[in-house]
């Protein structure tokens, strides 16, 4: 039996979850009482099952790397061709509009320009290794990759290298907003775990109030795949004033982090909070944590939180 077109279309959209809430409700009511529609729905469901047997072509990482290299070559050739065209067009039009005297003058001017360009490029080697120092400036170009992060605990000096158009080297303390921006990026997005760890370490000891960096550290503490990075991020956050956001992150870590050392850092941090809503969480950890040492620490922390005077004595 043929169904009206609108109804068949509704069946297809229902299967693809493309009906609005009300449409979906109406359709489900209709289908409950209409056998022909139910049969059609079953047919389309079977079709979906059959379509799952289509073999899909998936490129390997190697294929993509090769395709990117080809694209890079092609774009480079295009740029070269465009530059050559512009240069010849410019030169041709400059020479064509003049008489013989002007042509000589143009030639002389070009010679002079060549000398100036030569002089300029002679000092170009300095450009290749230049070091940009930016103090307190936030308008940085988009970062594409962080090269290295170095931190000298003695002087508190942080040096980060990252790529935009050129490699940029930036030195300053973590109090510097530009340094913090690059560190936040490295903590969040750097693929090399050593650099993420170095970036987290570089933030230690800073007395900054920076939302972007705080969020990056919270994300590192909760989600980084490397235990060392999560642990270091927990230590850094513990030393900061515990905001509501940080407190919540520590609670989540206490509940879900598989590493007991990181859970203990979370306990320590929560013990500083001295708020009553933390008590049931500590009680839960003291009772249910699967690590004996964490349970013990939680009991002690709980005792300190519930009876601060007793512990002080």
């Amino acid at each position: 039996m043929n169904l009206p077109k609108d109804l068949e279309q509704a069946i297809v959209l229902y299967l693809y979850d493309e009906l609005s809430g009300q449409e979906k409700q109406e359709f489900e009511t209709h289908i409950e009482f209409n056998q022909a529609s139910r049969r059609k729905l079953d047919e389309f469901r079977k079709l979906h099952g059959v379509l799952g047997n289509r073999a899909l072509l998936t490129p390997s990482e190697q294929t993509l790397v090769g395709a990117r290299a080809n694209l890079r070559d092609r774009l480079r050739d295009e740029r070269k061709a465009a530059m050559k065209e512009n240069w010849f067009d410019g030169l041709r039009s400059a020479v064509a509009i003049t008489g013989r005297g002007m042509q000589l003058a143009t030639g002389f001017a070009l010679l002079l320009a060549g000398l100036v360009v030569g002089r300029w490029t002679a000092t170009g080697s300095e450009l290749a290794s230049y070091e940009t120092r930016i103090a307190g400036q936030r308008g940085l170009p988009a970062i594409s990759d962080v090269g290295s992060v170095q931190y000298d605990p003695a002087s508190g000096l942080v040096t980060v290298q990252y790529q935009t158009v050129d490699e940029v080297s930036l030195s300053g303390s973590v109090d510097d907003a530009s340094i913090r921006h690059v560190l936040s990026y490295a903590i969040r997005s750097e693929t090399h775990p050593g650099r993420r760890l170095a970036a987290v370490k570089a933030t230690a000891g800073g007395s900054f109030a920076d939302d972007e960096l705080e969020q990056a550290l919270v994300k590192a503490m909760e989600d980084d795949e490397i235990d060392g990075v999560r642990l270091k991020a927990a230590k850094v956050l513990k030393a900061l004033p515990i905001s509501r956001n940080i407190k919540r992150a520590f609670i989540r870590v206490l509940f879900k982090d598989p590493n007991p050392a990181i859970r203990i850092e979370a306990l320590d941090a929560l013990s500083q909070v001295q708020e009553q809503d933390v008590v049931p969480i500590l009680r839960n950890a003291a009772k249910d944590d699967d690590n004996e040492f964490v349970r013990l620490q939680a009991s002690r922390t709980l005792e300190r939180t519930e009876n601060p005077e007793v512990v002080e004595r």
């Binding site: 959209l13 289509r54 073999a55 072509l57 998936t58 390997s60 294929t63 993509l64 988009a142």
Partner: protein
């Protein structure tokens, strides 16, 4: 679009090739997969990839942040795929077939619901060929909508934005495509 992506696009618009390459790296797997599932041929998919990104590079300055960058990029992909399909249909008699060894080019053939026995695997391959043949019976637009929704999971409103059509038109393409697919694969879907 987050602020980092916006900044990267602006850098790429100013001619920063590193920024452009980071955009390529972010989206190229999806671009390649869409192309592959449309043309079902690794070699053609790689050609489409190159042409699409060269066009995006040439026209990037025209992107004015009125839509998501991904929508704009996929619009270039779908337009190119539709034209490619039309051209291929016209030149079918002269085109190379797709029987060369795609796996040796670094591509994998994956079947989501595949069974593991060799017999089942052979049957799956036959069925997969039949599905491809049925897809080839659809118009370019119907095929594109069907492939993007069924195999790539794009929502219809996003497909409408990519193809520059109304949502109603896209719904109609999906419906017609499903009807035709059912008719082509009747022996299987009624079993």
């Amino acid at each position: 679009m987050n602020s980092d992506e916006r900044a990267i696009i602006q850098e790429a618009q100013r001619g920063n090739i590193v920024a452009f390459e980071s955009l390529v790296k972010k989206y190229d797997r999806q671009v390649m997969q869409i192309a592959a599932s449309m043309v079902n041929n690794a070699h053609d998919a790689e050609d489409i990839y190159q042409e699409v990104f060269v066009r995006v590079h040439r026209n990037l300055r025209r992107f004015q942040f009125r839509s998501e960058f991904s929508t704009w990029l996929y619009r270039v992909v779908v337009n190119y795929c539709i034209n490619f399909q039309k051209k291929r249909r016209r030149n079918r008699a002269f085109s190379l077939d797709s029987d060369f060894d795609q796996e040796s080019m670094g591509w994998q053939l994956t079947i989501a619901d595949a069974e593991k026995t060799p017999e089942q695997s052979m049957l799956n391959q036959e069925l997969s060929n039949e599905i491809d043949a049925a897809l080839d019976q659809l118009s370019s637009q119907q095929k594109l909508v069907f492939v993007l929704r069924h195999y790539h999971g794009f929502k219809l409103k996003d497909i409408a934005a990519m193809m520059g059509c109304s949502l109603g038109t896209i719904k109609n393409y999906l419906f017609r495509a499903t009807q035709k697919m059912q008719s082509q694969l009747r022996d299987h879907s009624h079993a």
